[in-house]
Subunit: 311 residues, 4 copies
């Protein structure tokens, strides 16, 4: 039965599966690896699965465009949970390679600062050559062009490599963020430490349009957590924006910001309000004065009295 089934971006043994297993309900679900993000999400759309866990953002390689574009342009889905998983690199080598054999290493350019201290201490003479992605770097090692690649340990098997050293991470806070996606339904109740995701299309591309978008949030005291532009497919220079903000759609300040966006933008897609991973209600910065639900209620009462001549 579909309600007992969760899909995820496979294959088995990836970071995504590890992330999914951190969810309590995963223990009682059938977890099904899929070959691609669209495949994992389509299983939810057709009802074959109740939800799908897919990566959406990586603090090293950036937004996961397949996920962003499916959520923005595909048949509507909603996000119900997010999971943060720390990133640690493994140094992948061809079988038989030892540390002393390594003259050249590779990885994505933003991975370099993550492993720089480790390199200085352990392979001070190795030459760094950037690759287009960590996976691409692993491929180059497989093809014998480079001696070692920094990538996720799980990538070793895919490329027939050995994880010579594991758990390398200069920075403490490198992480990948995953989202649990389901069919549209009522969002979960607010927890006090929530996040609201949207996709917003700008209208005629007049110069100030992006600033107007940001002001709809700012004027209500709603903080942005992430903004990412994506092409709409209508030509160079046409973008939509994937935007996460603090708060829950049922918070008055968030609801009013969303209505403001809905009024002035040609399209707004609500992608869900859900608990922020790794942050409790006690850690959230206090709402700007004048933006609590009580403030909204008082102001509405005052307006009603004013309309009545009793302001």
């Amino acid at each position: 039965m579909s309600a007992s089934r969760y899909t995820y971006l496979g294959p088995e043994g990836t970071f995504t599966e590890a992330a999914l297993r951190t969810l309590p309900e995963a223990a009682t679900r059938e977890l099904i690896p899929m070959i691609s993000v669209p495949a994992a999400l389509d299983a939810v759309r057709t009802g074959d699965a109740a939800a799908a866990l897919v990566p959406i953002e990586n603090s090293v390689e950036g937004g996961v465009t397949a996920t962003l574009d499916e959520l923005a342009l595909g048949e509507p889905l909603m996000i119900y949970r997010e999971v943060l998983l720390p990133i640690a690199f493994a140094l992948l080598v061809r079988p038989g390679t030892g540390l002393e054999d390594i003259k050249t290493v590779t990885g994505h350019p933003v991975a370099q600062p993550q492993v720089r201290r480790w390199l200085a201490a352990n392979l001070p003479d190795a030459v760094w050559e950037s690759s287009a992605s960590n996976a691409d770097g692993a491929r180059q090692v497989q093809e014998g062009k480079i001696d070692g690649a920094f990538a996720g340990e799980f990538a070793a098997a895919t490329y027939g490599l050995n994880p010579l050293v594991t758990d390398i991470h200069d920075a403490e806070n490198a992480a990948t963020r995953f989202v649990l996606v389901g069919r549209p339904a009522r969002p979960a109740a607010p927890t006090g430490a929530d996040k609201t995701s949207t996709v917003i299309w700008l209208g005629d591309d007049h110069p100030g349009a992006l600033m107007e978008l940001l002001q709809e949030y700012a004027v209500r005291g709603v903080n942005l957590l992430r903004i990412e532009s994506r092409p709409t497919g209508e030509g160079i220079g046409r973008y939509c924006f994937s935007v996460d903000c603090e708060g829950h759609i049922s918070d008055r300040r968030v609801g009013e910001a969303l209505m403001g966006l809905k009024r002035v933008c040609p399209n707004v897609r609500f992608l869900g309000s859900y608990p922020r991973a790794g942050i409790g209600a006690g850690d959230v910065s206090p709402a700007r004065p004048g933006t609590s639900d009580d403030d909204f209620t008082s102001a509405a009462d005052w307006l009603n009295r004013s309309l009545d001549g009793r302001g």
Copy 2:
């Protein structure tokens, strides 16, 4: 009976009386001149009069501070109507003075551009000396210090002067604005060409506070018509703002801007929504796209559907 009585800033024969008589209902009211703006308004507060007509703004000398401060700081009253009266200057002289005798003329500095063309054509050699107000200029003529003063024709009697020439006005659009003030009650229905008046106190005077005030209007597409700072009486550097905007408090965009101000400012006083003088509903610039009442309703519907998982 008080409902039949309107007070106005006297004495009889001033521009204010002329403005009051442009109102149709003036024909059926007892019109009572008062010695000051506070006196005219206090008669309304005590119930001795149903309404008072007082000047609030003059395109030559500026805001009428007695009116602004009474409306901001006194016991609450509301504006129900405004009247615009064109300004024309008279050249006031001592009895017996002819045009050929005039070597020096005076008037408020902003009056000078209004009479410059007339002076060039009729008194090309007269020397202009600015006075603190048009009335002050008339006084200087009375005292024999100056030969001629540009002021309202009605000021002639007050200072024992003759209006040697009348109806002088280089600019077509010089005017005084008056407001009809009553006790707080439900505002008149919107006409499509309305104005909403408020007094707004800023909080802690952080640098951006005024800009935040303006953004509450701007983000909802509400145009400002006038903004004037007034001291709060709490010391140099402490101001409140008298602000007029386009639209009626029952327009959704205006109501939402007012609620936004109410939330973030320590105090907001609603002074009324009333028809704009001299402009019909057909002359009002169209609302910015996305700010009509229908747009607000659609956005609220969308938010409700989204809260329900049917966005």
Copy 3:
């Protein structure tokens, strides 16, 4: 000789003379009272006087429009100093009136909070009736319409009244601000606690024009101290703005803000940079990071290197 002569808004014995005498150089100048602000300033324009001291702002009654308009519209002058004088009220009565005879008192509406505590303690039964100005209140006492007026002690002589009680002031910080005005010349050197005054005309009155004016300051981290709208004389709805900001025209952030205003506004008049009264360099809030003169120099160096391919 004119360099030895300072004019001021008379008559002798006013607050203005008291303010002028707080300036060290006043001891060596001939101080000449003038009948009006324009007269005091015209003496400077013609070279009859080296400078004039005139009131520009009062924390109770607001901006002094004669001064603001002369500086904005008259032949150009510049501000070189400012003086702050605390305000205290006297209770003015007709000769022979004692405290026990006072049934009614008057004063400008914003004066009322300044004397409320004193009234409650000393004249709990007196009825307050607002007047259009403190001087107007004194006149009403002179005419026998009211028993006592709150005004400056110096006004007593003008209206033939007695100052029955003096030095009344509930608030500690009520004050009048005066400016010392001379012919345009190089501003005094910066002191670290300076103020820069301007008059700014907005162009076509599109809705966001005032916000754009404010942004020219805000984007360079320059704090506003005062903003006041004044009619331009071209009709209701046409204003210019009298704006004071923190800092000296020779501070890079202030100079760049002024150039920005000059570019986008049809007219900007620089009225001077001068030391702030009542505040030392040590009391000024620190400049926003990135807005010091050093930051401007570093950024200009970087731009030059970038233009050269060495960014």
Copy 4:
């Protein structure tokens, strides 16, 4: 000799090579395909090549992150030219497949609207299944999982497929943008239709930081053409922004905006000013009033006169 050598993202026969051959100077250079964007750029850094042509943005799949991250984080390089190439899709099938055999088709989600009309007319019954990228779709056809993939015609050879139909494009304006990158040097002279590229790091992530970045451009009337967030590698929630704006670094308004950014942001990297592809000087929207070089010069002259008392 290196000056005669240009690298590009290979292999031979890709869109990138086609784009490079549109440059007149390509005819006299040795064109060398490289296996990756980093490899192509490193050849420039080491001096092995004078320049490299790499894709930077695709109107269907978005920013080319390898290029964006190399330019943001790698050893500094500069952009000297851009090339726009229209996108057309081919329907790739396994050898032997005819139109009548196709039951399932795939492609990147944003490719779907580009081929929808063609599908409705030619394959109305085919089922669409999104893939993570167009190349990934081709791979799935190769593996026999799907019958046809929409991708660039050049991808056919890579995956052993046939381009059954070519030149499919519903939208007229789908395109890929390439940049010609060299070692840092003086930018080319302005043409009147230029673009300036930067990478900007925001400081402490206070809520309004992105809006402040945008205001540095907006207040000088500089229009944005593209903004894209990229992770800095320092953890989820830490981004830098790749920003293109209209104009040349030697335009005063652009230079001042860049200096403003340099002052308030912890890091700004200038990536070059170069002619905009596909737009002539005559097609550029006119500069906002007050933002031309002459306006900057006049304002600077005025400031200098004001500093001298001759404003």
